[in-house]
Every structure is written in structure tokens, then in C-alpha cells.
Symmetry: C2
Subunit: 497 residues, 2 copies
């Protein structure tokens, strides 16, 4: 019967991940891809609830760390871009010429950025005097306002964030949550008195990343991206990558230390305690709906999604069984639901008039972590029958249903953590030398300490991209895989989404 259900719904096996992923996001009703613009999916209620549960975790972390939520306009006038373009060009030249940016003079030049945005040049029947674009991210919009908000050192640190829709004119193949043209986006922007304070902000960001990834059961690789992959205008970029089941890495978050580079371009200054004018040091921290894509990819199986309990839109589905045989069933189900809701759980009662098998498949596909069945005999025994989406069934006492469910959900979370940890451990292989065969579905750990030219050799030989320096170096000396020189720099190379 289970086979019948799966076949009916047409879920490909997860081992064929490139077929499984696009199928399951629609079969589980997370999104509908039939909207007539490519790369702009409709969020269906179940998918949107999942995203909002992830957002709720983010809001909680932001509140804990004294970030304040703002909401900036979507549209940005083109002329604001000039400052940004000059900054980016200057930093690019400095990098190419290997000199300090301060030594260079700003030249007018266009950044590549303009190629990736949607333009609003018309409104009603008018052509606009100043064209505007849909934000791909909000540096330009925000840093136009920051100088109005920051006067003195008492206004710092300024810690703001927003969760908004952003847009990118993708020309590559689009994939739900992973590469889309309208992006559900989180961005934190902070300003500080100096470089050290901004650096501590990056540390706090990584602590937040840790909490969030734990809740979602996502082991991550944290890397300092190579210079050529640093965010435009940033001093350095720290990226957080998830390894998807096909071995490709998915960047789900990134933190950027801007030093005072953007502040100089946008004239974001403050008066210090001695009354001197100083430039602010800034950071940003971004995440997106890719988090949901990572959750879908990491935890699902041949039968559908599996949601980690902290972000499951429905954490517990309650099923009355053979309710026609006993008047005690429905009241017991309602009482259990009330107790669980009272304890803050997200609960659904499924009393549809369908065969139990059909109901199981539905909730399996949707990845509800815990199913509780209550039938006449269960009521007599004072139990609910608990079935975990990750496997394993057992009765739990109705009398103490809240504690029992806590336990069950902890078991699901632990199991998901173990599986994803194991997936990552299996996936990462050490690359000892450039002759070693590169296997599909894996990412490689290397000792690498070469130049940009050496990096090109490494990438071309392996066909993989360098993620950058891992947070933890090797404990002992190694030999750089390209140059052979002694190093402890530990890096990963992978196929990136």
C-alpha cells in the first residue's frame, strides 16, 4: 500500500537527488512552480509556514542580540548606485594591482551589479526621470540613511536587520529556494566604532549561525572565502555552506566585514568621545530561503520530507482511530491536542474520512516529525501510539502527553542530527595530491596555501571550486597540495550550487 501511495504521488527515489528535489517541493505542497514567471514560485501555505517558522527562530536570535528590525523601500534610485560602483571598482583595482585601496583614486566605472537587477523605468504612462531598480540587497538603500541616524559614538553600535523580498535577474537555471528570482531574504546591517567591534559582531553572527543550524539539524562548513569570491566592497567574507545529498555545497548564509570601506564611500561617520570625526566600521550578515532548501535536501527521504521539530509547520499530527467504535476516542484526541497546544506545540488533528494508510502517506510526504494515533484500546490503556517520521513506534502515556511528546521530538531531532552528521562525514574526503581521482558526490579537504595562480591550477585540475579557509586549521603541519610548501591552512573544494 505504501508503494502504491508513493507511486501515485510520483516521488522519485532520493538517490536520484536532481529528480527528487524539484518533485518533492511541489508534491509536499511547499511551492507551486506553475506561476507564469520562471524562478518566481508561489509559496503555498505549508511551505510558507515552514519559512515563517525559520524566520521566527531568526527573529528570536535577533531580539536576543539586540538587533532592531527595520523595513526599507524595495526600490532604489539608480543614482544612489554611483557611490557603490566607485567603491567596488576601486577595491577591485586595488586587489588587481596588489595595493592598499587608500592609495588609489576613485574612477567612474560601472559595476557588474547592474546586469543582475530588474529595472523600473516606467510608472503609469510616464517614463521616470531617475530609473529605479528592485533591491538585490540593501546596502545602497540603508547606507544612504545611516549617516542621518548616526551622529556620535552613543548611537553605536547600530544593529539593524530586515526580512524582505529581494530580486535577482538570474540567467542560470532556477531551482526552488536554491536559485530564484524573487528571494525571501534576511539581512542584518551593523555599524561600529572600530574594526575590533565590527570583528566581534562577526563572532556574534557566527554564534547565531550556530544556534540556527543546530535547530535545523544542518551541519555546516564555515569558510573564509578566497579574495576573488569576497563580497564586493567587503574586507573579508565568511560563508556558511551546507553539503547537499548530491555532494554539491549550498551557501546558506554569509557574513561580511566591511571595515570602513563602505563608510568612506557613503560618508558614514560619528563623533568620538574626544569630538573627532571617525568613519564607522560595518558588517552585514545575510541568509535566505535557501535555508529551507537545505532542510528539504538534507533531511528528506524516499517517502518525502522530514522536518526538524523546531521548524516543522506541523510538529504532531493526531489521528483518531476507529472512533466509531468508542465515544471515548474523540474526547481523548481533543484533550491531547489541547494539552499539546497549551504547551506551545503546532498540532493538527486529522479526522478526514480516509483509510489510515492514505493519511500516513500524506503526513509522511509532508515530513511531520511525529504521528500520534489514539484508538479505543489506546484510550483504555491510557496511551497514545507514537510513530516517529524517522522510524520507531511506541505507546506513550496520555496522562503525561506533553513530556512524552517532548521526548519523542528530541529523539527525532537527535536522529536527524546523526544522519546529517554521518552524511557530511561520508561526503568529505581528503585530497592528498592532484593525481587522485575526483569522485562524484563528494567534497574534498585539502591543505592549500598557494597564490591565485596556484588556486587556478587546483580548481582546473579537480574541476571543483575552492570554498576558502576552514575555521579550524590542521592541527599539524601539512604540505600544500599545489606548491608543496609547509602549511596548516585547511580548505575545502567542492561543486557549488
Amino acid at each position: 500500500m505504501a508503494e502504491h501511495g508513493k507511486a501515485k504521488r510520483g516521488i522519485p527515489p532520493k538517490s536520484d537527488f536532481n529528480a527528487w528535489y524539484p518533485a518533492i517541493v511541489e508534491i509536499a505542497e511547499l511551492v507551486d512552480k506553475r506561476y507564469p514567471i520562471k524562478g518566481m514560485d508561489v509559496w503555498r501555505p505549508y511551505g510558507w509556514k515552514a519559512m515563517r517558522c525559520i524566520d521566527a527562530l531568526t527573529h528570536r536570535e535577533m531580539e536576543r542580540t539586540d538587533h532592531e528590525e527595520v523595513c526599507f523601500p524595495l526600490l532604489i534610485p539608480e543614482d544612489l548606485l554611483e557611490k557603490e560602483n566607485r567603491l567596488v571598482s576601486l577595491l577591485k583595482r586595488a586587489r588587481e594591482e596588489g595595493v592598499d585601496p587608500g592609495e588609489l583614486r576613485v574612477e567612474e566605472e560601472e559595476a557588474g551589479f547592474k546586469k543582475e537587477v530588474y529595472w523600473v523605468k516606467h510608472a503609469g504612462e510616464n517614463e521616470l526621470d531617475v530609473p529605479m531598480f528592485l533591491r538585490p540587497t540593501s546596502e545602497t538603500a540603508m547606507y544612504t540613511m545611516f549617516p542621518l541616524w548616526i551622529r556620535s559614538h552613543v548611537d553605536l553600535p547600530l544593529k539593524t536587520y530586515q526580512i524582505v523580498n529581494t530580486f535577482r535577474y538570474e540567467t542560470k537555471q532556477t531551482r526552488s529556494f536554491i536559485r530564484v528570482r524573487e528571494i525571501h531574504f534576511f539581512e542584518a546591517h551593523t555599524a561600529h566604532v572600530d574594526e575590533d567591534c565590527a570583528s566581534r559582531q562577526i563572532e556574534e553572527d557566527l554564534e547565531i549561525v550556530g544556534h540556527l543550524m543546530d535547530s535545523m539539524g544542518l551541519p555546516v562548513i564555515i569558510s573564509k572565502r578566497p579574495v576573488w569570491d569576497t563580497f564586493p566592497g567587503a574586507w573579508y567574507t565568511i560563508a556558511i555552506d551546507v553539503i547537499m545529498p548530491n555532494g554539491r555545497t549550498l551557501q546558506v548564509a554569509s557574513c561580511h566585514h566591511y571595515k570602513d570601506q563602505w563608510a568612506k564611500a557613503f560618508d558614514i561617520t560619528y563623533q568620538d568621545e574626544s569630538g573627532n570625526t571617525q568613519f564607522c566600521h560595518q558588517t552585514t550578515y545575510g541568509m535566505s530561503e535557501r535555508l529551507l532548501g537545505a532542510v528539504v535536501g538534507m533531511h528528506g527521504d524516499d517517502n518525502g520530507l522530514i522536518f526538524p521539530p523546531p521548524i516543522a509547520p506541523i510538529q504532531i499530527v493526531l489521528m483518531p482511530v476507529a472512533a466509531h467504535k468508542s465515544d471515548a476516542v474523540i474526547p481523548a484526541v481533543d484533550a491531547a491536542a489541547a494539552a499539546l497546544r497549551g504547551a506551545g506545540f503546532r498540532v493538527k488533528i486529522d479526522s478526514r474520512n480516509l483509510r489510515p494508510g492514505q493519511k500516513y502517506w500524506d503526513w509522511e510526504i509532508k515530513g511531520v516529525p511525529l504521528r500520534l494515533e489514539i484508538g479505543p484500546r489506546d484510550v483504555e490503556n491510557g496511551n497514545a501510539f507514537a510513530a516517529r517520521r524517522t522510524g520507531g513506534k511506541e505507546p506513550i502515556p496520555l496522562e503525561n502527553i506533553v513530556d512524552g511528546v517532548h521526548n519523542q521530538l528530541d529523539m527525532v531531532q537527535t536522529e536527524l542530527n546523526q544522519r546529517s552528521r554521518m552524511h557530511v562525514d561520508d561526503c568529505i574526503i581528503r585530497l592528498e595530491n592532484l593525481e587522485q581521482e575526483i569522485l562524484d558526490g563528494h567534497i574534498y579537504e585539502v591543505a592549500f596555501d598557494g597564490s591565485d595562480a596556484d588556486a587556478e591550477i587546483l580548481e582546473k585540475t579537480t574541476g571543483l571550486a575552492i570554498l576558502g579557509d576552514a575555521m579550524e586549521s590542521f592541527a599539524e603541519d601539512q604540505q600544500c597540495i599545489v606548491t608543496g610548501k609547509t602549511t596548516r591552512r585547511r580548505q575545502h573544494i567542492a561543486r557549488m550550487y
Copy 2:
């Protein structure tokens, strides 16, 4: 000192409402209007938090009534508009010619709608094949998908909503929250088996409106809009208006009954129990950030905002007083804050090193409903000193702080309700005949049962606009103010925002 504080912050007296309103929204840090696009303000943390508190009430009502939250793309391809344009043109002609829409043949014609949208015709360096526009509202986007989601009567009712940014190319003068170009918007869209079920949805919508307006302390006028002011494509429109302090009405919500008119244009059908194909009947219900504009306008005073407790971003500000004189003050403040937060209140501790007077002004301006001061003597007496933003001060026992605060906030809410009720009662005057003088700052109740031509006479003579039939008719026969014929139809005329 209070005068000094007010003068420093430059709040005009509220009696000069047209000066007070634009000033207070910035002085209280709800928005920043200095963003370089007119009519697109930046939401500052305090304003955004207030809006999110209003949204939270809306989400709760939607959940209670089994609406499901979705999120549709912002961009709509131009070609989807054709169906809508044809529908609107047809209904307009039917109305003008006084015939049933079913008797008319559809003609190609452009709706006025296109004049009010922002266009995306370029992306990157390309001109798009099909131009797209930023949603002003989502009928077109949603009703393109509804036929894919609705197959049979078991899929009905379909009750969806979203809270998103929408756009309107306003050419009139913009005003924060009231008339803006990027709108924080709520829209519910439902589909039903027949007209009666859709009508019951409108009743449910009005019940929700009742709950929300109660929470915000906003007495409203509910009117069935005249035909010429009915939403394009709707059978009828029910609008919810707030009377602002200057006597102008502000439409803060509206519900539209579409019958099967949109369903016929978009081919939204279902199979009924007998297997016959039927058109759905639809409704929509919209609200926006105007709700916040109404709250600001209705409740504020010469000293700043006053937030009704259910939507106050900060409900209670706790102020330690003379903490240097007793070690017991700070722990007492912290304990009170913990107890209040535990009970679900939004609490802020203000331990800034400023004179108490300065702090008072800040929280007065921001409209925090309750201030609690705790000094050495208060701790000795086991009290906190409570000061309500609406006036009145008294000690409340620390031991039972949660109940005490509940009481205090109830008193604030009751006071706000009384004041706003009184404002409305003072504002509405009966207009007995067309010779009666029209006073500034008032709206008029009339008995009116005339034709469109009579309506034009009424509007031209008074210089006011007809809001439509009030929900409650006159209890006794009256004479129509224009035609003199006997009627119980009760209508309001007003200057509308």
C-alpha cells in the same frame, strides 16, 4: 520643563492636525521620510514593531477563522491583465447601460489600472519580451493559480491571505501610512461554492474587522459603497472608514463580494456533488498600514502618540528612580520586568543616565501606555508607581504586579475607547436639508435614496463625498434629502482621504 521638551522636539498642537500628523510620525521615530523616493518611507524599528503588532492580531484572526497564509510573487506579467481588463470593461459598460453583465459581449479595452502601476520592462541589459508590473493588489496573480488548486467542491471554501508589499504610482500628495507608493498590505482571497457561502464570508470578515478595530480602539463607519465607488469587478464593496481628528474619513479596510464575476473571467470552476461544473463565488478583504495611520491620528495628543495596549510596541516602560540611593531598586525593577515579560507583556527598562523629566517626554512622545517608576521608597512600601499615558497616577503592589498592570492597561484602553467614541459622536452631524451650512471638521448623516444624478447634486452642493449605505438603516421613515421621497436609507457624506 515639559514645555521645553515639547518645544525642543517641535510637536505642533494636535488641533492643527495637518501639521501634527506628519511631524509626529517622524518625531516618534515611526518612519523616516528622508529616503530619496517620495511616498516611500523607511520603517524605523519602533514603527515597524507597531505594524508587526497589528499584523500579529491579523494573523491570529486569520488562524482562528481557518484562513491559510500564502505568498505570491510581486511581479505580474502584463498579459495576465487582459482577462481582468475585459472583466472590468464589461462590468463598467453593463453599469452604464443599466443591463445585466451577462447580456454584454466582451470588448477589448484597457482598464485605468495600468496608469497606476510601476512597470518592469528591463532586466539587466535586456528588454523583457513580456513587460511585468509590481502588484497593486493580487487578484490577477492569484486567480491565475486558483483554477489549478480548485477541482471539486471538497476543495472549497478556499480561504487564503497574505501580508505583502504592494505598489501604487500615486500622483496625489503622499502622506505616511495614509497615501504611500509602497504599501504594507493585507489581502484575503476566498472562493466558495455559491453566492450565499460568499456572503457568509463577508459576514465573517466584518466580525474580524470588529475584533481588530476594538483592539485598536477605533470606532468605524461601515458602509456599502455606492455603485460608482465599488471595487472594479465586484458585485458590491463594503468599506470601513475611520474619522480622523480633522473630520476627514480614512478608509482602513474593505470587503468585496465578487459573485462569480471574476471566476467567469479567470475560469475558476469546480465539480459539484452531482459532477456538474460550476463557477466559484469569490470575496476579498483588504487592509493596510493605514490602520497604523488611523491609530496615530485617533489617539495621539499634544504630547505625542498614545498606543492602545494590544498593539503598543512597548506596553510598559520601567524606570528605576534614585537607584544610587538603594541597592534594592535595580533588583526590584528586574524582578518586575521578569514577571511582566513572563506574563507576555512587552516591557522596556529605561536605565539611561538622564533626568527623569527627559525620559518621561521620550516615552510620552512614543505613546507607551504605562510607565512604572520604582525608587527606594517604593521598594520599601512594596509598590511601583504607575502613570498612565492617558492621565492618572497611583501606586500598585509589586507583589501582584501582573494583575495590577492588567488593570492599568485596561483603564488606558477604556479611556481611549471613550475618547474616540466621543470624538466620533461629536463629529457626526445630521444634515437635514441642502441649505444647511457645512462645517469644517465634521461628517454628515443623511437620509438619501436618490439616483446617480441626485447623488451628484448632493455631493456638489455639500462639497462632500457619499460613503454609502450605513449598516444600520434609520429606525423610522425619513425623507430623502434630495428627492423628498420616503426612505430609511441612512448614509454618510464626508471629505475622504
